[in-house]
C-alpha cells in the first residue's frame, strides 16, 4: 500500500497515520501538502484528523476547496481508496464524497475518551479484516462528531449497507450512553455507495500499537492493504 496522507493548515494527526503505515505495518506513506495538484503513485489516500483551517466557518468547509482535493475527487471517482479520520470525515462530507454532515456533539462537550465500535459489515475495503464479533476499542477526540443526515439519506445508508461502524457499549450493545456525540443511529463511520470512500470519527491510527493500550485500530489499515492486494495489477495507473 502506498498512502498519501493529506496535510492542511491545522491538520495534526497526519504524522500518526504515516507512523502506523510505515513503522507498524511496513508499507509506504508520505505527507502530501494541500496545495499539491497530484497524488503521485499513491494507491490510497488518508484525510487525517485535526483542526484544518481552525474549523473556521464549519469544520472541513474550507479544506474541501484546497487544490489537492480536486485530485482526491478524481481519484475517488476512479475507485481509489480514500479514508477520512475525524476532521478527515468532516472534510469528505463537506466535499460531497460522503453523504450527511457532522455537527456539534449533542452534549456540547468536547469528548476525549475511549469508545467501542461494532463493525456492521465486513464487506468493504476498510472492514474486510475485522472479525464479525470483535469490538474495536478506539479513542475519540472531537467536539463536532454528531453524524446527521436526512431521513431519506439514512434509509438509503441502511438499505445499501453503507454504515460501517456504530457506537456500542463494552458488551457490544447499542445504548444511549455508549454514543458519545448523539450521532443518529449511533453512526460512527460510513462509506459511499461505491464503497471506496469511507469516514469515521474515532482514531484508528492512535490505537494500532499495544504500547498505546490497544491495537484494534490497525485492523482498518490491514483491511485496506488486503483490499488493494486483492485488486488486479492492471488497476495501477
Amino acid at each position: 500500500m502506498n498512502v498519501a496522507v493529506l496535510q492542511f493548515p491545522g491538520s495534526n494527526c497526519d504524522q500518526d497515520v504515516v507512523h502506523v503505515v510505515r513503522h507498524v505495518l511496513g508499507h509506504s506513506a508520505r505527507l502530501l501538502w494541500h496545495k499539491e495538484a497530484s497524488l503521485g503513485a499513491a494507491d490510497a489516500v488518508v484525510v487525517p484528523g485535526g483542526f484544518s483551517y481552525g474549523d473556521y466557518l464549519r469544520t472541513g468547509a474550507i479544506a474541501r476547496f484546497s487544490p489537492v482535493m480536486q485530485a482526491v475527487q478524481a481519484f475517488a471517482a476512479q475507485g481509489g481508496l480514500v479514508l477520512g479520520i475525524c476532521n478527515g470525515f468532516q472534510i469528505l462530507c463537506e466535499a460531497g464524497l460522503l453523504p450527511g454532515a457532522l455537527i456539534r456533539n449533542r452534549s456540547l462537550q468536547f469528548r476525549c475518551e475511549h469508545i467501542f465500535l461494532r463493525t456492521v459489515t465486513a464487506e468493504s475495503p476498510f472492514t474486510n479484516r475485522i472479525p464479525p464479533d470483535k469490538l474495536l476499542r478506539l479513542p475519540i477526540a472531537h467536539g463536532e462528531g454528531c453524524y446527521f443526515a436526512e431521513e431519506a439519506t439514512l434509509a438509503r445508508l441502511n438499505a445499501n449497507n453503507q454504515v460501517l461502524w456504530r457506537y456500542v457499549d463494552a458488551d457490544g450493545q447499542p445504548a444511549e450512553n455508549a454514543n458519545p456525540n448523539g450521532s443518529l443511529d449511533a453512526i460512527a463511520g460510513i462509506c459511499n455507495e461505491a464503497r471506496n470512500v469511507a469516514g469515521l470519527m474515532p482514531h484508528p491510527e492512535r490505537a494500532s500499537e499495544p504500547i498505546l493500550g490497544c491495537a484494534d485500530g490497525r485492523l482498518v489499515f490491514e483491511s485496506m492493504i488486503h483490499a488493494l492486494q486483492a485488486r488486479p495489477a492492471a488497476a495501477a495507473a
Binding site: 463537506e94 453523504p99 454532515a101 456533539n105 446527521f148 436526512e150
Partner: protein
C-alpha cells in the same frame, strides 16, 4: 454594497446550543420563551453597484461554501 447573511440550522437538525441558551434564559427569569435556535451572521462588503449580479454571486457563495445545505438554511439582504 453590503450583503447581510443569516445562516440557521435546519428545522430537522438538533440544536443543543439553542436548547442550552433557552435553559439559560429560563434560569435567569425570562418566561414564555418557546424555542431558541442559534445561527450565524456574516457581513460581506462588495465592489460594484449592480445588485442583480451581487445577489447572484452571494446566493451562489451561500450555497457553495458559506452554508452547508445538508444542515443549514440561509437568507440574505443587500444594501
Amino acid at each position: 454594497m453590503k450583503a447581510k447573511i443569516i445562516i440557521t440550522p435546519k428545522k430537522a437538525v438538533l440544536d443543543p446550543q439553542g436548547k442550552t441558551v433557552q435553559s439559560a434564559l429560563a434560569h435567569i427569569g425570562y418566561t414564555g420563551i418557546r424555542d431558541v435556535r442559534v445561527g450565524k451572521y456574516l457581513e460581506i462588503e462588495l465592489d460594484g453597484a449592480n445588485p442583480d449580479a451581487a445577489r447572484k454571486q452571494i446566493d451562489e457563495a451561500c450555497h457553495r461554501i458559506l452554508s452547508n445545505p445538508v444542515i443549514e438554511d440561509y437568507r440574505f439582504e443587500l444594501e
